[in-house]
């Protein structure tokens, strides 16, 4: 007999299902807008936006990956696309010659600026519209705590054995 797992209560299920459906549809819609407005995937937008928030518009590859991408090769791939399109440039780091520094170009900032109004528009219409200021604060507070918790939990050391018989 498998050990019985206490079931989730209705509120827990509701929170989970709503989270998944909301984030999935929001991401899908935003992805369309970003592609239409600037030819960006969502990951590419996240990378550009992360660089845009950095003090000097540049970051090391590893720091850029944070929370956006789950493998180094995936990051290399996405940054490669951005560089191909002239939105970022890569250069060896002067401090640690193993590192690569990624910097936003003017063209990258332009694309970010061109894409941003529509992005905010989608967020307002689809996500924020039915929420009061209190709702938004509650969401930011609760989800912020979950995010902080997730960041402290060490990633599952999953040794993939994917084949099933």
């Amino acid at each position: 007999m498998p050990a019985p797992v206490p079931p989730l209560d209705p509120a827990e299920l509701g929170a989970y299902f709503s989270l998944i459906e909301v984030s999935s549809l929001l991401r899908h819609t935003v992805e369309q807008q970003l592609k239409d407005a600037g030819g960006l995937s969502y990951v590419q937008f996240q990378l550009l936006a992360t660089l845009g928030d950095a003090p000097d518009g540049s970051l090391r590859m590893t720091d850029l990956a944070d929370g956006v991408v789950y493998s180094r090769s995936g990051l290399t791939y996405q940054v490669g696309l951005l560089e191909r399109d002239g939105l970022v440039v890569r250069a060896p780091s002067t401090e640690d010659e193993r590192s690569t520094t990624v910097a936003l170009t003017d063209a990258g900032r332009d694309v970010l600026g061109r894409v941003f109004p529509g992005h905010v528009e989608v967020l307002r219409q689809l996500f924020l519209e039915p929420l009061s200021a209190d709702d938004v604060h509650a969401l930011a507070d609760v989800l912020g705590r979950v995010r902080d918790h997730m960041r402290t939990v060490p990633p599952r050391s999953a040794r993939p054995r994917p084949k099933r018989g």
Copy 2:
């Protein structure tokens, strides 16, 4: 100067960024668990779970798509994989011969049961752990309202198909 878009306030940004990061990491972790435990992708799990919740364990393709998949061909692909593995069966609908009915098999229920405890475990450890009962209720309430709002905005499964030209 073009009329600027009023920026999002810090709470709005915080709610949005936390939502994206939390849902992304949660989904990624759950995806690994589902793959390890039952060889399922997240979409496949959602489809099986949706069928499992249906009164007789079967649904029409179109009804199955709701909230899970964004194109008809994507649904056909995923259901094809599930059928190949014996987890569902497809049969022509008796009421409307254009329709296909998808039914969960015993093997499909088994996989669902085998995968579920670990799924709940991940949700508890990664998502629910730092939250009080009040937090969970607040999340379910607020995100539930957003989900309801999103459902009213675009009619997803009835999305118009491109015209033939």
